[in-house]
Symmetry: C2
Subunit: 202 residues, 2 copies
DNA sequence: GCTCTAATCAAGTAGACACTTGATAACGTG
DNA sequence: CACGTTATCAAGTGTCTACTTGATTAGAGC
């Protein structure tokens, strides 16, 4: 008689804290992105991750702690999105395309805006990250334009496929979630940026 | 012995269904705007309105019904916001200033975007309301620009003081909620619209 | 192998929440 | 003033939800 394999799912039982943490974080990103902080359910996160609910508290202390941990992950990705030296219209195009490549991240970022109460995990980081963009804009526009405000406008515009799907559906008459539209819209954002004189001059 | 006044608060007890309805709607606007649909609490709405909780179900059937009733109110206001014939930059300036005059409405509208699932109470209404704007833009820009997309971008840009306060805080270094900044930002939106050639031509 | 720790799990719990129920008091109408 | 209707109220109810507790097991170090 061979030694009996006690567990029916030996692979599933193997421990791997890093993997578990990552699974929970990924599931949390999807849930928070889909429903926002208040709407997200910890039970749904655990189920989506395929782990025991309690592990959420084991690794992240609270729903809030999980949310904050997520913000850090997202922050790291943002830093790597646009290599320095990329022309502005192309920067904006890529930023708009994030709606395709990382829709959860963009939604998370949008939720954070509405749920913002005055303290931001990433305040200083973002300020530093966007400074070059503001300065580049300053050099390319006239004195009547406040480059910081224009940066904000362009950021908002680039995120619109995520933040204003209802407007897009009404105004453009198409489903804003299709890749075709996202690409078209991203091109349009770049086009408008060029019209504003934000392209490289020869 | 004079006839005793039985109720200590006779004025409060006076019935006024219309007033009650309005009180609930106003309180709901504030709560939903502050926390979104999932985050809003019916108990908080009743308390803010100063009415018995049950009246929410008496008048609106459900939390969802209350939310929908609110959407209709908001919709009506939108129609009256910008009289036809207003030049585009001025339209956008006023739209951006809504963040001051009707912050709850703007927030409600922004929440609706993130919570959008494909069905919209005001789909047709908004489409019709925004058509003239799209057509006006079409006449003023070159063929490389999709006027519907530009309309979306400008809408998103005009709402940024509400949707992206965290970005504004980082990039502009000011509190996005102050009236001074809101006015400055609204002027900037109008300025950029003029730069894009959206002003009246002589 | 033994033991200690760290990871996983199952079964709660207390409170919050949307919504009901059934009674009561103001109002309109004859 | 009687009487039916309508608005208001107080006190639930079942369910959901974030979080606890306490036991169990996999793996690391000796």
């Amino acid at each position: 008689m061979p030694p009996p394999r006690r567990s029916p799912k030996p692979q599933e039982r193997r421990r791997d804290p890093e993997r578990t943490r990552a699974l929970i974080l990924a599931a949390a990103a999807a849930e928070f992105a889909a429903h926002g902080f208040a709407g997200a359910r910890t039970s749904a996160i655990a189920e989506r991750a395929g782990v025991n609910q309690q592990l959420i508290w084991y690794y992240f202390d609270s729903k809030d702690g999980l949310y904050r941990a997520l913000a850090e992950v997202w922050q790291r990705r943002q830093r790597e999105l646009v290599p320095p030296g990329t022309p502005l219209p192309e920067q904006l195009r890529r930023y708009a395309l994030e709606a395709l490549d990382n829709p959860d991240g963009v939604r998370l970022f949008a939720w954070a805006g509405l749920e913002y109460t005055g303290t931001d995990v990433d305040h200083d980081g973002r300020a530093e990250r966007m400074r070059p963009t503001v300065e580049e804009i300053r050099e390319r526009v006239g004195p009547e334009v406040d480059p910081a405000c224009l940066t904000v406008m362009l950021t908002a515009a680039a995120m619109a496929t995520t933040t204003l799907p209802h407007v897009i559906e009404s105004v453009c008459g198409v489903d804003p979630r299709t890749p075709e539209f996202a690409r078209h819209y991203a091109d349009q954002v770049a086009t408008v940026a060029r019209l504003l004189g934000l392209a490289d001059h020869p």
